[in-house]
């Protein structure tokens, strides 16, 4: 398995969808090829970082919401009820 193929199989590897033979070959390559091992480590880390940045985004939530938006929502509800 070459580096390029490793990347192609990476998703299936992570989802545990590789047949045993390819899985072995994948893992052998990872052991023998530090750049690929590092790549996979980073790939996992990137996924975790995305989650962390967006799931705990207390700091990205706007402090206040435009009052006109709030009023528009309240109005839309009233109209929805009337109609």
């Amino acid at each position: 398995m070459k580096c390029r193929e490793l990347l192609e199989f990476l998703m299936q590897y992570l989802e545990d969808e590789l047949p045993p033979e390819e899985r072995d070959s994948f893992e052998r390559h990872m052991r023998d090829c530090p750049p690929c091992a590092n790549y996979i480590q980073s790939y996992r880390a990137v996924r975790a970082m995305g989650r962390k940045a967006l799931c705990c985004e207390g700091d990205a939530v706007p402090a206040d919401v435009p009052e006109d938006l709030i009023q528009a929502i309240l109005r839309a509800r009233q109209e929805g009820r009337a109609g």
Binding site: C3, P35, N38, S42, A48, V61, I73, A76, R77
Partner: protein, 219 residues
């Protein structure tokens, strides 16, 4: 208010839900004031136009109001609203999105003829994995996600952040499951390329002594 026999403390959220179910105006306003900041933030992940963001949040609240009877008491209101605003944003997106797919090639790993990657330049140093203790780091990651082309970012958001499965994501976006898999893989690779200059370290220059194995016998 009915007295509770054993003075079980009443969760303020369930009180709010009761008032919403009774159609109380003030309860609805409370809900909107409390949850709209977070809902705006979520809609902004998916939608680039601020008008669309506002519409999506408004539609989400209206649909929440209409379906409050279906709200299950054991869920959190915020979780329930989150799902509703994601759906509303995606619905908007689907109406908008008929743009051709943007290119992501520049952000993908490049290969030389012998199939070894030629563009890493940085590698992961394996320490800061997912900690992101500093808010500047979280901002940086969010901005990197925003830089991904829409078609890729949305798949990444649905699969990795919203944690929908491939099938659900394909259905929501109206594309094949295979397209979801390919886009997700590319989106993660591209995000890695964007994050590496900050979270990686400059790569070691390759040794002269063949640093990577070829197909078979490097053992």
């Amino acid at each position: 208010m009915a007295p509770t026999p054993n003075a079980v403390p009443v969760d303020p959220e369930s009180l709010l839900v009761d008032r919403l179910r009774q159609g109380e105006d003030a309860a609805f306003e409370e809900l909107v004031r409390e949850h709209s900041p977070r809902m705006l933030a979520v809609a902004r992940r998916f939608l680039s136009s601020e008008d669309d963001v506002r519409d999506a949040v408004q539609e989400a609240f209206i649909s929440a109001f209409k379906s409050i009877q279906n709200f299950e008491g054991n869920a959190r209101l915020s979780t329930w609203l989150h799902r509703i605003v994601v759906n509303a944003s995606l619905m908007k997106l689907r109406r908008r999105r008929r743009k051709p797919e943007e290119s992501i090639e520049d952000l993908l790993p490049q290969f030389s003829e012998d199939a070894h990657r030629v563009n890493p330049a940085f590698e992961w140093d394996g320490r800061q994995d997912a900690d992101l203790e500093r808010s500047e780091d979280r901002d940086f990651v969010r901005q990197a996600i925003e830089r991904l082309p829409d078609t890729y970012r949305n798949v990444l958001l649905l699969r990795d952040i919203e944690e929908l499965n491939t099938e659900e994501t394909a259905r929501i976006l109206g594309v094949s499951e295979n397209a979801v898999k390919i886009r997700l893989h590319r989106a993660r690779q591209a995000l890695r390329t964007l994050l590496l200059p900050r979270f990686g370290v400059p790569e070691h220059p390759p040794d002269a002594s063949g640093d990577a194995p070829n197909d078979e016998g490097s053992r």
